[in-house]
Symmetry: C2
Subunit: 477 residues, 2 copies
């Protein structure tokens, strides 16, 4: 009889106590980050490998009207869009009432929007293994219909629960067994995804080490963290799920100092959770105010935020459509940025306690700036998001990191954002920032990724990029 997955990592212990920390693990991670030449593929060849996998798959994604969706339908009554099997996800309506500080009795905002609901937690897992004494991470070249370039570098495994449960007579998710019965866990945490587009979606972010022989086909490559760091500097190369999982890597905590103690930082965060009052209620998609539904899209009346659309996916020369599905299509390119400054020799970023209607718990820590500027184009300067202009006007010499990344291509179409880290100083960004913002050290954020619902997915992407920047000095300056 198979052991339940959840308890496998605790199987057959002996009655001895061991160290609660995995000594040496941090150093092994740092070593992998320092190695820019892996045991297998050269970093320079990753791009051509991805292109080759794109070619081999011969993928075609085309927009279709909603009525060309196969197996998907707008449910009578609610108008919610779902799959006939009840699997995958649904597009529903959300009604959000948010009240700000000082104690949830401050300014009130209220809106309705479509939202993606996917209540099952899937697994995003990266398998790693030592070659020549260096940890390598098994990355997959994976096609997702919403990616602008279709194929990106992805975790070893991306699986919804339906993918890997026995309910569907065995699984076709390659290498999933390493995550259901992990040998040695390096990270394992339920992390949130976009709170503005998803309703309380989480995925299990796992990094697992193996000593097994792994049979991986042409869609997989072993890369060091140093190689992945280099690739994180390229546009549209490392997908969102991979960035999220990589952000959970337990880099050694070599910075025992920070502007605020860990207790102060957690207290500030608790205060932010307390002073916001967010009430989000699912409503029928057909009743959402401010949005209009056409045959090919559901969009905001002023053309802002995003659209719900549908696509058909074909692979190979076959005429047959492989599948159809709805996606949320971004309107405009996002800007996601951390302001970074040195405080007493320790790098800190300015985090924002952001309230989104789709968060499970009120607020999460977001980048300093996270928005689609086009959505604010109609507002006067004073009503634009704080620090946006500072980021947009930053001189090149202050840009520590910049790349365009796209969000989850299985749900979002052409959802691209410029991810930036901008050096700043006391004149532009005082140590005592406006309410809702606080300076946290990178080590403090890394420590918080052990737990869910602290850093949002955009902040996790930037944390992964910052770690990559540390591994590979900036190219721009």
């Amino acid at each position: 009889m198979t052991q339940p997955a959840a308890t496998a990592c605790l199987a057959s212990p002996r009655a001895v106590a061991r160290s609660r920390t995995d000594r040496g693990q941090g150093d092994r991670i740092s070593l992998s980050a320092a190695i820019t030449h892996g045991a297998y593929l050269c970093t320079e060849d990753v791009r051509s490998w991805l292109a080759e996998r794109r070619l081999a798959g011969d993928f075609h994604v085309e927009r279709v009207p909603f009525d060309a969706l196969d197996q998907w339908r707008f449910e009578p009554g609610t108008g919610n869009l779902g799959h006939h099997s009840g699997r995958f996800f649904t597009i529903e309506g959300l009604h959000v009432v948010e009240r700000d500080g000082p104690h949830g009795d401050g300014p009130r905002r209220e809106w309705q929007q479509p939202v993606i609901r996917q209540p099952e937690a899937g697994i995003l897992g990266i398998l790693c293994k030592e070659f020549d004494g260096v940890l390598h991470f098994l990355m997959q070249a994976k096609m997702e219909p919403g990616n602008p370039n279709l194929v990106q570098l992805s975790p070893t495994v991306q699986a919804t629960r339906s993918n890997y449960t026995r309910a569907h007579g065995g699984t076709d998710v390659k290498l999933i067994e390493h995550f259901l019965r992990p040998e040695r866990v390096i990270a394992d945490v339920l992390q949130s995804e976009q709170g503005s587009w998803f309703f309380r979606k989480v995925n299990r972010n796992m990094i697992v080490e193996t000593v097994d022989e792994i049979e991986a086909d042409d869609d997989f490559q072993w890369l060091t963290l140093g190689q992945i760091a280099a690739l994180l500097h390229e546009d549209l190369t490392v997908n969102m799920n991979a960035r999220s999982v990589l952000s959970c890597l337990p880099f050694p905590d070599s910075m025992p100092e920070a502007l605020f103690s860990d207790t102060q930082l957690l207290s500030w965060f608790t205060g932010e959770r307390s002073r916001h009052d967010v009430r989000a209620r699912r409503i029928p998609l057909s009743s959402v105010c401010g949005w209009k539904q056409g045959p090919e899209s559901i969009e905001h009346e002023e053309g802002r935020y995003f659209k719900a659309v549908a696509v058909a996916v074909r692979a190979g020369n076959r005429e047959r459509v492989q599948w159809t599905q709805p996606l949320f299509e971004a309107v405009g390119v996002g800007v996601v940025a951390f302001l970074l400054r040195d405080i007493g020799g320790v790098p800190h970023v300015l985090v924002h306690a952001r309230a989104d209607g789709g968060f499970l718990d009120t607020v999460e820590l977001a980048p300093t700036v996270q928005c689609t500027p086009r959505n604010y184009a109609h507002l006067s300067a004073v009503d634009r998001p704080p620090f946006l202009d500072l980021v947009l006007n930053a001189p090149l010499s202050r840009i520590r990191y910049e790349a365009v990344h796209s969000e989850e291509g299985g749900r979002f179409l052409n959802a691209n954002s410029r991810y930036l880290v901008v050096d700043t100083n006391d004149t532009q960004t005082p140590l005592n920032p406006p309410p809702g913002y606080a300076w946290a050290s990178l080590a403090q954020l890394t420590a918080l990724t052990r737990h869910g619902h602290y850093l949002n997915v955009e902040a996790r992407t930037l944390l992964a990029c910052l770690n990559a920047t540390a591994a590979q000095p900036r190219g721009g300056a």
Copy 2:
């Protein structure tokens, strides 16, 4: 202009990095735990002080029918019971569908029940201050209508958000300002309350140190942790809120070893969250199946679980009723117990990943046993909760801790449970327990109380009691 509370603890920083941990704080907490004679009231006199405050208040609580509730009413349509102001809380219905492992596709349970909904997070705060070099904690003798003995030892402050916001023209919560603009935070975390009776209720658990002169009236006393530890061994003396806040005390982490590494323990917990699928949906109270509503109570058709009832509270000799309110009345006395064993010289307890319909996030860590045995009396031995019989049949020599405590007296009437810690060994409880259970060291649990939604409120009570047991050796053996 007043600074917003949430940012106050971060005010006016200088551009220097400081230690992220509060060095010396753990030792100061340990010192207070070791001191059993406080600078003020003797421990032996706390009981008479509580009795005296009870007498001074001259409180009378009597049951009344629902139609004698003032300002409360069953809302037309839903039948939900709420206050006309929209404040306090409501009693609504809850529909829960829970599927167990291996991956949320296992055995299915489905039920409906009344539930208390109180979406605002209040503050439960204990103020502390050094006297004669020893930290003392300011405890309040507070009446709550559901307490069997009315007055118990409570945190310095218990305030709902409505209590302390300006919306109601200033506040009458004594000493609240120390928590809105804290000087030195020792703990500050949003913690959950009963997931079987509350719908996603959390309170902000705070411990704050001050150096100010504090003017506290006859309802307050400064006590050391050693004194409070002694009082935690007495029945019905320390209220639930105080126990919860005390569980968040950052005792020094002097146990760097455990059966499982911290990563393994978190991975097990993540697996437990993932393998349960809990869907809880609020429904109209009037539509709840399996429960019947009479003029004086709403109760389960087989008389199990709890009843919703109403009480009127009078204080002093005045005829006038001070207020009326509904309460949930417990049916039977609960049993809440940790099994405790030494593993390699380190004390561990057997935690249970418990799914409750009212938890925000699927499962939380609960005691080994947490139930009201009477609810299971109709079941055969094999269907009774795991380890219940082992706890109930434990010989006195194995009982490390035992006291009767009541749950939150502002919402629950006569909700008493026997809290126990039972020594065990390998024969009775193997290191490889059934799915859903794991051995965690006390230090690991203490570390997790820095974050919300790990330990449930019953586990936090037992953790506070275990710390009290460590401070004061068992009396029984």
